[in-house]
Each structure stands twice: as C-alpha cells, then as structure tokens.
C-alpha cells in the first residue's frame, strides 16, 4: 500500500485514478430516501449524475486506488480501510494506493472521525463494495475464457481458472469488468476465512512518523503564506475594548495587527491577531501588543463556585428526567439496606500534542483550508455559513493530525483562520501556542454524580443517579435549556437495568460560559467512574465478589464471556484477600471493555500501579495490533485524568496553561498493560475510545481493596492516598 500525501479534488482524482479512462471504478452512493447504499459503476454514476460516496478504482496495471475519507489522527484508518478492501478484493496490500479526500458532506456523508466511528460506520459497505468488484472481475475472466464463473476464483490480484490453471491479471480485466453490472448479491467471507483482516499488519504510515516526513498541520506550508498568532480574551465571553499596536508593528517582519472574532457555539471569541512573514516575528509582535479587555457584566467564575453550585443543585435545582422505571425515590426512602455516594470529576483539556493550527486562503469569494481537521465536512459547511459562502466554494484539505480526541472536530480555529485571511487578503497559517490551546477550551466538562442504591439481599433493587454539570447541547444557538441530557447513562452497562426493578436517571444542568465539548469517550469518560465505583460500593455492601456481583445482574452471554475472560487473564480468582485488585466494566460506542488494575503500597507508603489487564469486546475488528494500541492509549489518557491533571478556573480564566501545571502521565508512571480482544460474531463497535471509561473506577476500586479507602473525587494523587 502506498499513501499519497497530496490532497486531491474530484477532478484530480478522476485524472489520477483514470476514472474516465480504461479503468474499472466501482463506488457506492446513497439514493434519496434509501436506507442502504447502492453500488454503482463510475460511468453509470456520471450518467445518472450521482456523486459517488467512496470509490475503488483499478487501472490497467492492476493498481488499486482508494479514497480515504476519514482523517488520520492516530487511530490507524490508514491501515484499517485498505486492509478491509484488500481482503474482499483479493489483492495485496502493496497494490493499494490510498489518497485523502477533501471535505464534502454531499459526497461522503459524514466524514467526522469521532464516536470511534471510522470502521464502525463503513465496514460492511466497504466489504460489499470490494466483493462486488472482485465478482465482476471474475465474471469478466470467465466470459473471456468461456468457462463457468464458478470454476474461477480470485487471488492476489489475479483471476484463476481452477481446472486449467489459466490466470489473468486484474489489470487485463478492467475494461471488460467495466461493462458488467454489479451483482445484486455478494457473499462475504466468514471471519475464520480472513487472510488479511484480523492480522496484526504493520501500519503503513509508521515509517513517515519515524523519520520526520509525515506532514502535520503545523508543518504544512503554501506559497506566499503569512503567519498569525492571536491574543484572545482569556475570559470566555469577554471582548476587546481597545488595543495599542505601535510596539507590535515595530517588530521586524510584522505586517498586520487586526481585531478578530471566531465563533464558539453561540458566542464570538474576540482577540487581536498579529500577522508576520515568519512565526517568530508574529510571536514577538504579540508580546509587544497591548490589549485592553472588556469583561464587564460577565461572570468571573471559579472552580470552587462551579462545584459548590453543582453540589447544591442536587437539592435545589430541577432535575430533568431521562430514564426511569418503577419508583426509585420511594424504594430508597423505605429501604433498610441502602447506599448513597457522590462522585466528582474535573474539567479537562484535550491537549493534543500538536497544538491547534490552521491555514486558510480566502480569495475571490472562495476559501481553501488546510489543517489537522477531524471533521472536514462539518468545517466546510459551518465555515461556509459563517463566512457567507456556498459550501461548494469552500475546500477543506486534511493533513495528519497530531492527536484529536474530539477537539479537532470543532470549527473555531478554521473559522478564525478564514476571518484573518479574508481581512489581510493573503494565505495565512494561524498557530496556537500551547498556552492558547490549553486555556481557551472547549474543555471536557466536569460532572458531579449523586448515586443512590438499594439492595434486596445481594441484588440491586433500585438504582438512582442525578448528574450535575454542563450539557454540551445547551450551548448551541437557540438550544432548549430545559432539555435533559441524554448522554448521562453512556458508559453504563444498560443491560444491568433489565434486572433492576426501580431506577431513575436525571440531570440538573449547570449553565456556565465555559465552552465544553467531546473529549475522548465524551460523557462516558466521567460517567464510567461514577457508575462503576458505585456498583463496587454496592458489591461491598452486599458482601459479594465484585465480579460475581456484576455477573448476577447480567443476563446476556456476551457480558459473561467478557467477565470470564477478565477473570482468567488477571488471575482474579486466585488473588488473595485485599491484595489490591479492582475491576470496572463499561460500554461505550457499542464496545464493552473490562479492566482489572492491581495496586500495591511502595515502602514509602505511596500507591503503585503494578499492572493493568484489559479485555476489549469491540465485535468485528480489522487489525488486532491497532485495537491493542488504542486500548493502551485510552488507558494512559484515563490515567492522566485520574491521577495527574485537571483544568481549574479562577477569576473567569483557566488556571493551567502549559505542561508545567497541567501534568501529564509519564513513561515511568505507566505499568505493563496486557490487552485481550474478544473474538465473536458481533457487529463492529468503537475502538479508539471505549477503553478509557473503565480505568479510573478500576483503579480506585483497587485502592479500596488494598487500603479500605474509597476515593470519590478525581484527580487524586497516588502519593497521598
């Protein structure tokens, strides 16, 4: 497989792949009102004037070109998509050339890399598309040889006639295959027959990332490009009152100093941009700039106020009900064996290693954007709206992303770049410093959970959770602030609820000017801690083994399989009493993950994490090594949020500005992580996020097991338990 670094327009793709020449191109599109994608040849698509959603194109040399319509931010779509195609198309990975697609909602449907959806959203269509192309190639060979199609099969880019051993290269068949119609039905391989899928093939983008040649957003340069840095109001709704640019303009290289606004949900974030012919000068100019902010009338909140408000709101605020059965309130009021606990989680910064940046070139009422962008189609549409352009006049080019985690799906930074480019009438790269990136948000919202449970013998008979915190949906223009948060059970094994007669889940929204948004695994990242800590507390109250307690509430065999595996690999049953083992299981984006953490006390009394076991059930998957890497990475990110970092607010501003105060997990703090993947016939679930939510509870449950101390507030320090 080769990856081509250039971004291509549809026209270039046609040229590049020979779409209109002697090539065989098959794609799919979504007919209006249809639920299913339809497979169609490129020629017919142009006759019918439909835009293809994804293509496979095979040229006369047998080379296969495919479009990668997802961004690559570390999750390995570079590898996974061609692996899927090579399997059913019966070609070698080396024969596949993959190119990035540009953002276009109309062409590709949603391109967002979020919700761990890269594979989940498209694998069945890709399998079918590849198998259809293969069948057409086999068919055209059979016709040429005048033999039965059933006597032929495909292997490594060739069609072979079994009885005679005759062999034809795909390249020689493309012209004939282009004349056939795609089969109405194709049979897909069973996972046990896979030759390429399920194999831990090395990622093809790795060599680009070990020799410095991978081009991230910050590395991209376009001719005539200027550099901008922006001094933005550090308070979330503040404005620019005035600025003095004399000293900034005196810095050699500085070309413009202009006020700028970018859209953050329903508000404009105001700042002053310093534009120079090189980045260093722009940064020096910014230092010399004097801005007077207007923060009049805006709330200068602090972390203390926010959390006091949230905690109070359990008794004073109006809870918006999301899900209920029976009467949890009455069950709790009258129960004899009951438990209440409150769990607190912090605001967090995404802090991708590559700080935000974006290039924009606004010219003749057209806009072209280059950058590390998770959702190119959203950026195309939303930035077009904000700039008063037609979506077709906006082109979005993706580079490699130095991390995304949800943050690079937001449109503020491309919008701001577009505004600056338009104002100065030149292409410009806007670079955010680490401090900008860490203090401006949007942040992962901090949430507080009030959980109440009732035991009937050793079983849960009532489960009640009230959640206080910001509802991301409430930030959008015109949002109904009385709407409940439908994400408050994410992460929770909802199958538990089938065996619980009374439950209630509700939220009391906190309205705050702090912008918040998705952070790897979204609300599950905090929900998982509360729910799986509380289940552990209930298991302890029921005097049961925490895994056995969970198992008895789950009827579905899939969960039992996962629990059995977890028990087996972690040596759960042979552990001694209070040896420091903790477990948690969560479900997120259709994948179930169980984790066991083992802790011990070092001689200095500090808690040490000895080992982590994770069992991932993501259903159908492509590349086990990529799945494992994503589980490892999710655990490390969860570790940071559990015991290392948090974003605090003071006087209306974020306190932590760089890695000296927002402390990251380091190599010496991460123990061995042993990952197992379940093999089953379930549908594909997410891979990039679902291993994050269970970690924190598994850790604090382990600490309880070792020390008897229950931790209900994160982050906490392992040195001071």
């Amino acid at each position: 497989m080769k990856t081509s670094k250039q971004n291509i327009s549809r026209r270039n793709f046609i040229k590049l792949s020979g779409l209109t020449g002697a090539a065989f191109t098959l794609g799919f599109y979504f007919p209006a009102n249809a639920k299913e994608a339809k497979i169609i040849k490129a020629d017919d698509a142009s006759v019918l004037n439909v835009e293809l959603n994804a293509w496979i194109s095979i040229d006369t040399s047998g080379k296969v070109t495919i479009i990668n319509h997802r961004s690559e931010m570390g999750q390995g779509s570079f590898q996974s998509v061609p692996q899927i195609i090579a399997e059913e198309l019966e070609v070698d990975m080396n024969d596949i050339n993959i190119v990035f697609a540009q953002g276009s909602q109309t062409k590709y449907g949603s391109q967002i890399t979020g919700g761990s959806s890269t594979i989940r959203g498209s694998y069945q269509r890709l399998l079918k598309l590849s198998a259809s192309a293969r069948e057409m190639l086999i068919e055209s060979a059979a016709r040429q040889w005048k033999v039965e199609k059933t006597e032929c099969y495909a292997e490594r880019g060739h069609v072979i006639h079994k009885p005679s051993g005759k062999k034809l290269h795909y390249g020689a068949l493309v012209e004939e295959a282009s004349k056939l119609q795609p089969p109405a039905q194709v049979e897909l391989k069973r996972p046990s027959d896979y030759k390429i899928i399920r194999k831990p093939l090395p990622r093809q983008d790795t060599p680009l990332k070990t020799n410095g040649t991978a081009i991230f957003g910050l590395d991209k340069k376009i001719p005539g490009m200027l550099y901008a840095v922006v001094e933005r109001n550090p308070r979330f709704l503040g404005k620019v009152k005035s600025f003095d640019d004399a000293a900034a303009k005196a810095v050699p290289g500085v070309k413009h100093v202009i006020p700028v606004k970018m859209r953050v949900f329903s508000h404009d974030r105001e700042g002053v941009a310093v534009v120079a012919d090189n980045l260093w000068s722009a940064m020096q100019g910014r230092k010399a700039l004097k801005v007077v902010w207007d923060d009049n009338g805006f709330e200068h909140h602090s972390t203390e106020q926010l959390y006091a408000k949230m905690n109070e709101s359990f008794s004073t605020g109006k809870a918006l009900s999301f899900k209920t059965k029976g009467d949890a309130g009455a069950a709790y009021a009258t129960a004899s064996k009951k438990l209440e606990a409150v769990y607190e989680t912090p605001y967090e910064s995404h802090s991708c290693m590559e700080p935000l940046n974006c290039i924009a070139h606004f010219k003749d009422n057209k806009l072209e954007i280059w950058g590390p962008i998770q959702g190119p189609d959203w950026v195309q549409k939303d930035v077009a709206d904000l700039m008063g352009l037609k979506a077709d006049d906006v082109t979005v080019n993706m580079t490699f992303l130095g991390g995304g985690f949800g943050r690079k799906a937001f449109l503020d930074y491309p919008h701001e770049a577009a505004v600056i480019s338009k104002a100065i009438n030149a292409p410009v790269q806007v670079v955010w410093s680490r401090e900008d990136d860490m203090t401006q948000g949007p942040f992962r919202p901090g949430m507080v959970y009030q959980c109440r449970g009732v035991l009937d013998g050793t079983r849960m008979s009532s489960f009640e959770t009230k959640v206080a915190g910001q509802n991301m949906g409430h930030q959008n223009p015109g949002a109904n602030k009385k709407s409940y948060n439908s994400s408050i059970t994410e992460g929770f094994l909802e199958t538990y609820l089938d065996s619980i007669p009374n439950y209630s889940f509700s939220d009391v929204p906190l309205e705050s000017p702090i912008p918040v948004m998705w952070w790897r695994s979204v609300y599950s990242s905090t929900n998982g801690f509360a729910f799986e800590s509380f289940i552990d507390e209930l298991a302890v109250a029921a005097a049961m083994d925490p895994l056995a307690f969970r198992r008895q509430h789950l009827w579905n065999g899939r969960y039992h399989d996962l629990i059995n595996k977890l028990e087996e690999v972690s040596g759960w049953k042979s552990r001694s009493k209070n040896a420091g083992f903790g477990v948690a299981i969560t479900e997120c984006f259709n994948s179930i993950v169980g984790e066991v953490v083992k802790v011990s006390k070092a001689t200095d009394g500090k808690i040490k994490i000895d080992k982590i076991w994770a069992v991932m059930d993501c259903g159908w998957y492509v590349n086990p090594d990529i799945v494992k890497a994503q589980v490892e990475g999710s655990i490390v990110m969860a570790h940071g949020a559990a015991v290392k970092h948090a974003t605090h607010f003071k006087d209306g501003m974020a306190v932590e500005r760089n890695f000296d105060s927002y402390k990251m997990s380091r190599i010496n703090e991460i123990p061995e992580i042993e990952v197992h993947i379940m093999d089953n016939e379930e549908k594909a679930g997410g891979v990039g996020e679902p291993a994050l939510p269970p970690f924190t509870a598994a850790l604090t449950n382990a600490i309880f097991d070792l020390t008897g101390k229950r931790i209900r507030k994160v982050p906490f320090s392992l040195d001071q338990v």
């Binding site: 990622r203 790795t206 020799n211 410095g212 040649t213 890695f659 990251m664 010496n668």
Partner: protein
C-alpha cells in the same frame, strides 16, 4: 538580525536571523526541517528534541546563537532511510499513533542507547520521562528501546 553558521545534519547552513530565536523555529521555518516539533515551548514535553554534539537538547529554549559551531542532528539526519536501530525498532514495535511526539522520543532514545547500549527500565525511565506522549505509547516505547538495543548490538557484532 545576525548571520549565523550552523552545522545541521553534517551540512553547513548559513542563516540570517535574530540570535535569540530558538533553534526550534530556525530548524522548522528557516531550514525547512519540520520533523522537529513544537509541543510546549518551555522544555516540558520533549517534542523538540535534537542532538547537539551528540547530546539530546530541547531546541525550543535554545537560542540559535548557542548552537553556532556545534553539530546539530535532527530526526531527518538520524538516517534518511529509517535504518537507525531506534527507527527500525519503532517500526517493529509499531510505536507511533498520531506520531507527533515521536521525533523527540526517537532522538532521546537514540542518545540513550548510544550512552548506555543496554539500558535498564530505570535508565529508560530517567532518559524518557521528560517526553510526553498524549496518545499513550509509553509501553511500546519501552519495548522498542530494548529492541533497538538488541538490533544495535547485533549490528555491532556483525560489523
């Protein structure tokens, strides 16, 4: 502005820049070597690590004037074909996820195995704990350093 002669990856390069400009930005924006990354600018993350006379150095806080007449090696100069034992090990162990931190990680690891050909876990901890990987590739980095050490001993015994 001042004219400064730098020796980058065994080539002499003359740059005309503010002598206070950190080496990082000279490498990236003047010399066009974008493999060295910006992550924090305050010596906290290691993304900008290069070798200065063979020693790992944070280029984000090093004024370019301090690098004059010294030999600078960036990721691009470690090898041009991924043949350095650390690069090979990084590919074998499939370390990178997003990849952004990896130039710095690789430069630090290369300096480590040069100094200590068979590093212990403790050696790895102390050499690498200044390097942040937000994607969480730490367990693989540890493994890859051990693999790199193996590869380079094999190379040495062959060569």
């Amino acid at each position: 502005m001042a004219s400064i002669t730098l020796k980058i990856n065994n080539k002499e390069v003359s740059v005309d820049v503010d002598p206070k400009m950190p080496l990082l930005w000279v490498l990236r924006d003047v010399a066009g070597l974008t493999g060295t990354k910006y992550g924090c600018g305050i010596s906290q993350c290691g993304a900008c690590t290069v070798h200065l006379d063979g020693n790992p150095m944070r280029s984000c806080i090093l004024p370019v004037s301090a690098a004059a007449n010294k030999s600078i090696t960036t990721i691009e100069g470690l090898s041009d074909d991924n043949s350095h034992p650390v690069q090979q090990a990084w590919i074998t162990e499939q370390v990178p996820q997003c990849g952004y931190c990896q130039s710095g990680q690789i430069m630090a690891a290369a300096a480590l195995i040069k100094r200590i050909p068979q590093p212990t876990d403790k050696d790895i901890d102390s050499a690498m704990q200044g390097h942040i990987c937000r994607c969480g590739t730490y367990t693989r980095i540890r493994k890859a350093i051990k693999t790199a050490s193996l590869i380079s001993t094999q190379k040495a015994s062959k060569g």
